[in-house]
């Protein structure tokens, strides 16, 4: 047994696949004096790693999850614990066949080998599968299985042998000490360890450990049932662990996977079984392990028939018994992503939680890089441990979303699909009015946001013929032609848009300018009353944030950013405060109402005596004006390409201002418009980029076409990289493409929704010099230009306006043309509408 060090550079809690990977990567990055603690024995301390089915399907719709899985697979391969078996997702329904085509198209975008195959071809690969039950399959030949316990052991041992790590097995963590918001130590059953860094890699136990440091972890343990059936006669003579492809019977939410002489059958079909972390039994109380809970037969029974139907002879063998059956615990989060990075509650409190086997080593590497102050090789922004709003960390929220997500594990999930549970959570002061107008609400960061208004259905007739209606069910789902009608009406008259979901952060104090100047690419040493659109970069020049900043006073900036990224941005600013500066999240104090369209000025001037003329209130400025009896901070900018303002209203007076605008607008054709217009159609026509879609860590300002003529003289984070990038020829350019024909083979008009691969005319994948594939980052209607619009980064050689290319959608290819190879807009090219 190792002696407990009294001091450590970091204490890593949890020796599952993530913790082991993390210590390995920290050691590689030069960390010494690391301590890995687990309350269980090595090499299997009893967490979810120990009972995982250990197979890896590379295909993911989330780019981040795909990249983490890819990185993890490569690490497993390097460790020699990966066995390629191939994997097949079988379809029992026509809907699933369509989904498989969508998945294979996604695979093509990421460069994953994949093909749709016939039942007979499935049978050839999996001879024990009854092909009369299925109508096809999606074949992923690079699927494989790993030995995650062995991988963990190897990585841990490497860290130990490099002299960087002490391992404390069978050692329980009792408390985590925090002083003045900084981690100071860990109290264990083997003594106290002084440290500045604690990493929670505790899987299903993570919330319990986080609580010791006063933090809330948005994670819940959830049951995944698995049985192992054997001995399977067919497998008796096959070499090694696996000789047949893994079958995902996705329509029944199950999988069948050979494991030596047995067939493992797993299910995500049963009722969601949430297990509060405090109810996880101790090692002593556990019959098998704390995360292998007793099997609840009733929950699995319905699945047996389905499994038997698919593999009647193999699983129907009376001599093959169910030798092992568990309710295995897995980690689930409200958005399905891991929780990686420093937690907002304390400095030095890190999380590497909610990672499954397939992304474990990748998550370990990413957190090690973050802890070392490096930009992670895989963009893990969407997994940022600081991303959650407080309500998203509540037990009720986490459990409700896990409950809702569980049965969708193998589901056909539309990219715009909305959550049903724990809503509404955050509502604007206009919520009731919007509901009365028939708003269809989508959720962002807990906010209910009108996506379109049924009350605008009358516009459908008016704009008939320009609405780009979607005959295919898939694209019509979570969409309405009313969005396009609202768009056209806004461009014709004017629209009110509820933007309450904006995150509003006030940065104040004597160091406010220094703080903001250090973060922003754009010059923020501007007169008070100026509004600046800017990006924040990381050291490599990748995007960290994309937002607008209002300079309200010499020592006061108001940062406005998206709802979804608000908490991450808040942490980024908090982590980089200079001098005497404070950052406050005032989202809950302000509601934002957008007023845009040719008639916006007429509406606003009807309510204010302030000079809102083009000269009196110039573009890119903000100031307080009186709107009726309310003082409103008006900001003249636009994300939709129209004249107008964002009006920042004290939240309790939002309803009053909305009503006033509504009333004044009646004479000017004012309509309410939803986020469908604001977030998609309006901006695509104008070439406006969106953070997370176009603007990510992987691309640069130069590639995104957001360079400005000059670089400010002050230093800022990422400046050196940015200067370098400006001197180089970009190897990819963000382009706007128009779909030349949406007509599919069967004559139906099809509209891409995003993430589709862009191909050469020969149908070849486009990959830039850095290996980055071209795929659709945003897609949507351009009602005013009469085209379906796509944005995509294209290799420099094809990023030439007029270049004809293809986009693949649902396994079909459609012709597209590069319409813009810059950020220049398609609509209102000289921006005269904004500046009118």
């Amino acid at each position: 047994m190792s002696d407990t060090p009294s001091r450590a550079s970091a204490v890593i809690i949890g020796a599952g696949i993530v913790g082991n990977s993390l210590v390995h990567h920290l050691a590689l990055l030069g960390w010494r004096d690391l301590v890995l603690v687990d309350k269980g024995p090595m090499p299997n301390p009893g967490g979810s790693t120990g009972h995982a089915s250990n197979f890896i399907f590379p295909i993911e719709y989330s780019k981040m999850m795909f990249e983490l899985t890819r990185d993890s697979t490569e690490q497993y391969q390097e460790l020699g614990v990966f066995t390629q078996s191939g994997g097949i997702e079988v379809a029992r329904t026509p809907e699933r066949m369509i989904e498989l085509r969508r998945r294979c198209t996604m695979a093509k975008a990421w460069g994953i080998p994949a093909s749709v195959i016939t039942p007979a071809e499935v049978r050839k690969l999996v001879p024990y599968l009854d092909d009369s039950v299925i109508i096809g399959g999606g074949y992923f030949p690079t699927v494989g299985v790993v030995d995650s316990l062995r991988a963990g052991t190897l990585m841990r041992e490497r860290a130990v042998s490099s002299g960087a790590l002490t391992v404390l097995a069978s050692t329980e963590v009792f408390d985590i000490d925090v002083a003045d918001g900084q981690i100071t130590g860990v109290v264990t059953s083997a003594g106290r360890i002084e440290t500045d860094n604690v990493v929670i890699c505790c899987g299903v136990w993570s919330p319990r450990i986080a609580r010791m440091a006063g933090a809330r972890m948005a994670l819940t343990p959830c049951v995944h049932q698995m049985i192992s059936v054997g001995p399977i006669a067919l497998f008796a003579d096959t070499p090694g662990e696996i000789s047949y492809p893994i079958v995902r019977d996705v329509d029944t939410n199950m999988y069948e996977r050979q494991h030596g002489g047995d067939m493992e059958v797993g299910s995500y079909a049963h009722r969601p079984i949430i297990v509060p972390p405090d109810d996880i039994p101790s090692i002593e109380e556990s019959a098998l392990s704390p995360t292998e809970l007793p099997f609840t037969q009733d929950d699995f029974d319905p699945q047996l028939a389905e499994a038997l139907e698919l593999m009647p002879e193999l699983l129907g063998d009376e001599k093959a018994g169910i030798r092992y059956a568990i309710n295995g615990l897995i980690s689930m989060t409200p958005d399905g992503h891991p929780i990686l990075g420093e937690m907002p509650e304390a400095r030095g409190l890190w999380s590497a939680a909610a990672s499954w086997i397939k992304e474990g080593p990748g998550c370990g590497r990413a957190v090690a890089e973050l802890m070392s102050g490096k930009v992670p090789a895989v963009d893990v922004f969407e997994a940022n441990a600081a991303r959650f709003w407080s309500h998203q960390t509540t037990v009720q929220h986490v459990e409700a979303r896990a409950d809702e997500a569980f049965n969708k594990m193998y589901g056909i999930v539309h990219p715009a699909e909305q959550w049903e549970s724990v809503r509404p959570q955050r509502v604007s002061p206009m919520y009731a009015r919007e509901r009365d107008l028939g708003a269809v609400f989508y959720e962002t960061a807990g906010w209910e946001r009108p996506f379109w208004y049924e009350s605008n259905s009358g516009l459908l007739e008016k704009y008939a013929g320009q609405l780009m209606e979607r005959p295919a069910e898939w694209e019509s789902r979570w969409w309405s032609p009313i969005i396009n009608a609202e768009h056209l009406a806004m461009r014709e008259t004017c629209a009110l848009v509820d933007l309450s979901a904006f995150t509003v952060l006030d940065v104040t104090g004597p160091g406010a300018l220094a703080t903001m100047a250090n973060l922003a690419v754009a010059q923020l040493d501007v007169p008070a009353g100026r509004v600046v659109y800017t990006s924040f970069l990381d050291e490599n020049g990748g995007f960290v944030a994309d937002l607008t900043v209002m300079r309200l006073a010499h020592d006061r900036f108001r940062v406005v950013t998206g709802g979804a990224t608000g908490r991450s941005d808040f942490k980024w600013i908090s982590d980089h405060l200079v001098g005497e500066t404070a950052v406050a999240d005032v989202t809950g104090a302000w509601t934002t109402i957008g007023l845009w369209g040719p008639n916006a000025r007429a509406v606003l001037s009807a309510l204010t005596s302030a000079d809102v003329s083009h000269e009196g209130f110039t573009f890119g400025t903000c100031r307080e004006i009186e709107v009726g009896s309310t003082v409103v901070l008006a900001s003249r900018i636009s994300y939709v390409g129209e004249l107008g303002w964002e009006l920042y209203v004290p939240i309790e007076q939002g309803g009053k201002v909305w009503d006033a605008l509504w009333e004044a607008g009646q004479a000017h054709g004012l309509i309410p418009a939803g986020i469908g217009v604001y977030g998609t159609t309006g901006r695509l026509e104008k070439g406006y980029r969106a953070f997370g879609a176009e603007l990510t860590q992987e691309y640069t300002l130069v590639e995104a076409g957001l360079t400005r003529p000059k670089v400010k003289s002050q230093d800022f984070i990422g400046k050196q990289a940015y200067l370098r990038q400006r001197d180089e020829q970009p190897c990819a350019v963000l382009c706007t493409l128009t779909v030349d024909s949406c007509e599919s083979a069967d004559g139906t008009l099809r509209y891409m929704l995003g993430k589709e691969p862009i191909l050469s005319l020969a149908g070849e994948r486009l990959v830039d010099a850095k290996g980055r594939p071209s795929y659709v980052t945003s897609a949507g209607s351009g009602p005013s230009v009469g085209k379906h619009l796509l944005m995509a980064y294209l290799p420099a050689d094809v990023a030439v306006e007029g270049t004809p290319l293809l986009v693949e959608y649902m396994a079909e290819q459609f012709p597209v043309t590069v319409a813009r190879a810059s950020s220049a807009p398609l609509f209102d090219q000289d921006n005269s509408r904004i500046r009118s």
């Binding site: 047994m1 269980g40 024995p41 090595m42 097995a169 069978s170 002593e284």
Partner: protein, 365 residues
């Protein structure tokens, strides 16, 4: 339901004077001595009143039937060479004539107890919580309609009732219970791992051993049906030291790795004069026969030393080995639960440690 009161049974005792405990003594087949578990039962019986011991003339004790003829037998001497009768603390010993009950016949044994229960006016009947003890007492309960409490750890009289602590879950749990019955039928936990008899209770009854017990030769009146089920011993199954009574047990668990890994353990056991015992996984994997299993569903052992090799110490195993006086664990995992029950541990691979230990022991001899 009605409780059958056997003819002649004394009604519930209300005074200490009328209390008497009848205890069934099992003898070891080879030594002829009372087995430890029976001594424990006798000890517990003494806390309930003067003790009458019942001994069946089976096996070595009555070899050739000769012992019944000499006066020495009636003195008690040759029957229990090591002076066990006084160790029993019994005032009376009933020697059941072997000719009346040949071999082990559980119903017949129970019938004998029914008769002696009446004859002695016993307020309690006890036996060891062994297979036989539990079996005979259950028959006694079934015949008399009396409740029976198995595997008691402590018993005390409280008015007409008995307050007792008994084992459940093979001793992993204790039950506080009250037994209300005209005669208390009890078996006594053979390992009694949990609690010792409270101080003083053993000496509560005057030790009459100085005078030696009165020995009665008992000739029961048995029906043929009572003898219908009778044990026939097979020599084939005999041989070697029994796991339950072994002085040293060398345990092997999952860590042994397979059926081929037990040779060094066997060698070590024979060097130490012991036997090999195994954990449940070993028998359920079919590596070793079930009769070698130590545990809740196997044998409960009470050796001087239990040397647990590659055994993690699942609770079901602990239930079987907690009666060992000393435990030494050899395990690769310093966090294995067995270490919380062991006195000493070697952290290491049994495949290296056991051969080295064997070699070291060999070198000395």
């Amino acid at each position: 339901m009605t409780v059958l009161t056997p003819e002649g049974t004394t009604p519930p005792n209300s005074s200490a004077a009328s209390r008497r405990a009848l205890v069934l003594i099992e003898l070891d087949g080879s030594s002829g001595e009372p087995i430890d578990a029976s001594l424990r039962a006798a000890g517990l019986a003494r806390s309930l009143g003067p003790v009458s011991a019942v001994v069946f003339g089976d096996g070595a004790v009555f070899e050739g039937g000769a012992v019944l003829e000499g006066g020495a037998v009636l003195e008690g001497g040759p029957v229990f060479e090591s002076g066990a009768p006084s160790g029993l603390g019994a005032t009376d010993v009933y020697l059941v004539e072997p000719s009346s009950v040949e071999g082990y016949a559980p119903v017949a044994w129970a019938r004998v107890l029914v008769g002696l229960m009446a004859e002695t006016g016993a307020s309690a009947v006890l036996a060891a919580g062994t297979d036989r003890g539990n079996e005979v007492m259950a028959h006694l309960g079934a015949i008399t309609g009396l409740p029976m409490a198995a595997n008691c750890v402590t018993v005390s009289q409280e008015g007409p009732a008995h307050r007792l602590v008994r084992q459940r879950w093979a001793g992993l749990l204790l039950e506080d219970a009250v037994l209300e019955a005209p005669v208390a039928l009890l078996t006594v936990a053979s390992d009694a791992i949990a609690e010792s008899v409270p101080a003083g209770t053993l000496s509560a009854t005057a030790d009459t051993s100085s005078a030696g017990p009165t020995v009665h030769v008992h000739k029961p009146d048995l029906a043929e049906a009572d003898l219908a089920v009778r044990a026939a011993e097979s020599a084939a199954g005999a041989g070697g030291v029994s796991l339950a009574s072994a002085r040293v047990v060398v345990g092997g668990g999952r860590g042994v790795g397979g059926p081929d890994g037990f040779a060094p353990l066997e060698e070590l056991a024979s060097l130490l004069g012991g036997v090999v015992g195994v954990s449940r996984v070993v028998t359920s994997e079919g590596w070793r026969p079930h009769r070698q299993q130590v545990g809740q569903t196997g044998t409960k052992i009470t050796p001087e030393l239990y040397l647990a090799c590659g055994i993690s110490g699942a609770i079901q195993h602990i239930a079987g080995c907690a009666g060992a006086k000393h435990i030494i664990a050899i395990n690769t995992d310093p966090g294995a639960p067995i270490l919380a029950h062991a006195d000493y541990a070697v952290i290491g691979d049994l495949h290296q440690v056991v051969p080295a230990l064997v070699a070291a022991l060999r070198d000395r001899s």
